[in-house]
C-alpha cells in the first residue's frame, strides 16, 4: 500500500477514535497536538489501527512511535 493510501486510512481511524470528523493528521503530529489523546484513547487508537490494517505491532514498534510519521512508517513496514 502506498503512503498516501495509508495516511488516508489512518486518518479515518483517528477521526473515529477521537470522534472528530474534521480532524486531519500530518507526520509531525503527536499526542501533544490532540487534547483527547490520553492514555485511554491511545490504547483504543492502537487497537483500532491494528484492526483496520490487519497488523500486530511489536512492543518495540509501539515504543518507537513518537509521532504520526513514525506510526505511518511502521504500518508500511508491516504491510
Amino acid at each position: 500500500m502506498e503512503e498516501n493510501a495509508v495516511v488516508n486510512k489512518l486518518e479515518q481511524v483517528f477521526k473515529k477514535v477521537f470522534k472528530n470528523e474534521s480532524l486531519t493528521i500530518n507526520r509531525m503530529m503527536s499526542a501533544n497536538d490532540i487534547d483527547e489523546w490520553n492514555s485511554l484513547n491511545h490504547m483504543i487508537l492502537v487497537a483500532e489501527v491494528e484492526k483496520y490494517f490487519s497488523i500486530k505491532f511489536k512492543l518495540k514498534d509501539l515504543n518507537k512511535m513518537h509521532n504520526v510519521g513514525d506510526m505511518i512508517d511502521i504500518i508500511i513496514s508491516k504491510l
Binding site: 492514555s39 492502537v46 505491532f57 515504543n63
Partner: protein, 221 residues
Amino acid sequence: MNEYLIRKPLRSDLPFLADAVIAAERGISDKCNYSTLFNLSIEEVKELIIKMFEEEVDGCEFSLSSYLVTEYNKEPVAAFGAWIECLDGTMPSSILKSNLINYTFKKESVEFLKTKMDIVKELVAEREPLSLQFEYLYVSESHRGKSLAHDLINKHEENAKIIYPSLKKGQFQLFGNNTRIINLFGKHGYRVVKNYKSTHSEILNYLPYNEKLIMEKEFQD
C-alpha cells in the same frame, strides 16, 4: 535480629510486585481497574502484570527499574514505584503503560475497555514531565506501622535527586477516599494541587472512588 532492608527488586520479586500493584489499585475498596475495566479475573490480571514487568520497559509503573522493595528475613514485605517522567526524552509513562497493555492483554480485553471509556474518562490524569512520579505503594499488613512507607518515599526522593539534580517536584496520584495515604504523603510535605471528579453514575462499579487527587511537593534547591 532481623532488620528491614531497602533494595532494588529482583525478577523473583515479580509475584510480590504484582500483588502490590493489585492491592494498591484497590486501595480501601475491592475494585481493581485492570480487572473491572478489562473484564479479567484477579488471577488473570496478576499474570498479565508479571508479563508487563518482564518486558523490561523503563520509565513507567510497570518497570522493574522504577521500584524499591523492602525486604525482611529475606522476603519482600513492601514495595513502591517511582520514576522521573520523560527523563532523557523518553515517552510519557502513560503511553508506555498503554503500549504494554495493548501488547500484553488480549484484544477482547481492550475491546471491553472501549465500552467503558465514557465512565472513566473524567478521571484520566496526565503526569508532568521531569517530575518524580510515585505509584503503587504497598506494605504487607503484618509489617505496617513500622515507617516502611516513609523510608521508601525518602529513599526514592534521595535517589531521584542523584539521577536528576534539577528535579523540582514530586507528584502522586491517588483516589480521594484513601485518607491514610493522603496523610502519609502530607507528612512528607505533599499537598493536594488538583482533583478530578467523575459524575458518572456507574463509576463506583469500576473504580475505587469517583475522585482522583494529585498531591505535589516542590523540592528545595
